[in-house]
Subunit: 259 residues, 2 copies
């Protein structure tokens, strides 16, 4: 029996995106690979799961020697189906998600299907990593992400990840200059200035398209935004405990009498 | 011009759920109310937003004196459309989401559309509260949640909420006994033991339905699970900074040389 680590690979751009193929190529030397990824783009699906409908899995050819399945659901559905359907409840040794076509820095961790799959892995106690390249293009150049994947996966297989956390890894877009290195960061404080473009359908009824502009006014040099803007790979340890522990004392001063 | 606070109301069970009607009734005495809620159930949609399709809004009758819109998207889409389409970019004074039919304790904060709408409000700098009743039934008895809404909304309008956080409020199911009070808590450590029920369609092809069992082995008396199981309302201050700050030092010991 093959004793090498079992590595589960997923993403949110869909199983036929170049990013996931790159990721599979880079993790294959580390162990056995199982791919379960969405059958269509699922960007910005966050931590959504499918409970009002059913799910399908289809066996798919991706790369020689790799068991690959496309899934009708969200990235988090893919993680759940991999563990509880295909693996019969046993956990893989590592989960990697991506490589996303586009950045998942700062608050985008909340919207990102790529990162939500990694968070789901952490909730299952699996060392989990989300990788993103800061280039949305389908023909994005992933060459500079490849050594990053090898380094981070190697480190995680050697050292593990602190319990309750996963890693959010963002790689700057290729500029011709070599990467300056990697930085462990905090999630920058930032926000989206949203806008809806209003259009009229042929029946003259309005419909709306979301457009937004990402704004970071966080001046810290310890943030993921600062790192990637200055030629570094950012690594943010990301947790699923969303409790604002610092706020508990303040809220305890309220009058909580009910009625 | 009406100078009372503007209160935005949304949910994930859909605009016609009894829970949102109860919530609107209870917040109306505090200010002007704007309702923007999904036109169909959107439970477990997490922080999903709609970027690969367009959105619609339809003016809807809900309660006299209340401006109400149903939205074709997710709970987070509702918040964005309310602010950036209906309010022209200005922010409401308060956002309330729910009352959810079913609990959103512990890690369910990540899957919950109700709570994701509140988290989105916090990201926009709006004091935001998600309310949930621990009863999934459409005919759930919300009477014991009503004074909880009045208390928490009153407190938030008086005191605000620490920046970067929102509140996750869960009310036990009615048992005939009065509530014991409210407790400010942390999110319990828990997990879902998932399972997929396999069925065959008429063409003999498999499809899968997610079923899961929620398991908390967290023994702490300061958790939301402990509070609601012991007759208290739980209030968890919830933040969107997902950085595991405690893990940064450990990750800095790794060899981060790329190449």
């Amino acid at each position: 029996m093959d004793q090498r680590p079992l590595i589960l690979v997923t993403n949110d751009d869909g199983i036929f995106a170049p990013g996931i193929r790159t990721l599979v190529e880079e993790v294959m030397p580390f162990g056995r690979v199982l791919v379960v990824a969405p059958d269509k783009p699922q960007s910005a699906m966050g931590h959504a799961i499918t409970i009002h409908s059913f799910l399908r899995l289809h066996r798919t050819d991706l790369l020689d020697g790799v068991e690959a399945w496309s899934c009708s659901g969200t990235p988090v559905d893919c993680v759940k189906l991999a563990i509880y359907k295909l693996l019969g409840g046993s956990k893989p040794d590592l989960l990697v998600s991506g490589i996303n076509h586009g950045a998942n820095i700062s608050i985008n961790v909340l919207y990102s299907g790529t990162m939500s799959a990694a968070v789901e892995g952490a909730m299952e106690g699996i060392p989990s990593i989300g990788f993103s390249l800061m280039d949305h293009a389908i023909e994005a150049d992933f060459s500079q992400a490849r050594p990053v994947v090898r380094n981070v996966v190697g480190n995680v297989l050697r050292h593990g990840i602190p319990m309750g956390t996963c890693l959010n890894v963002n790689v700057p877009k290729s500029t011709g200059e070599p990467l300056k290195g990697m930085r462990v960061c905090r999630q920058a404080k930032a926000n989206w200035e949203d806008e809806f473009e209003t259009r009229l359908d042929p029946g003259r009824k309005e419909y709306y398209w979301l457009k937004g502009e990402f704004r970071s006014e966080d001046q810290g040099h310890d943030t993921d935004v600062y790192a990637v803007e200055n030629g570094y790979v950012s690594i943010v340890p990301t947790q699923y405990d969303m409790t604002a522990h610092h706020a508990i004392a303040q809220l305890n001063t309220w009058d909580h009498a009910v009625g």
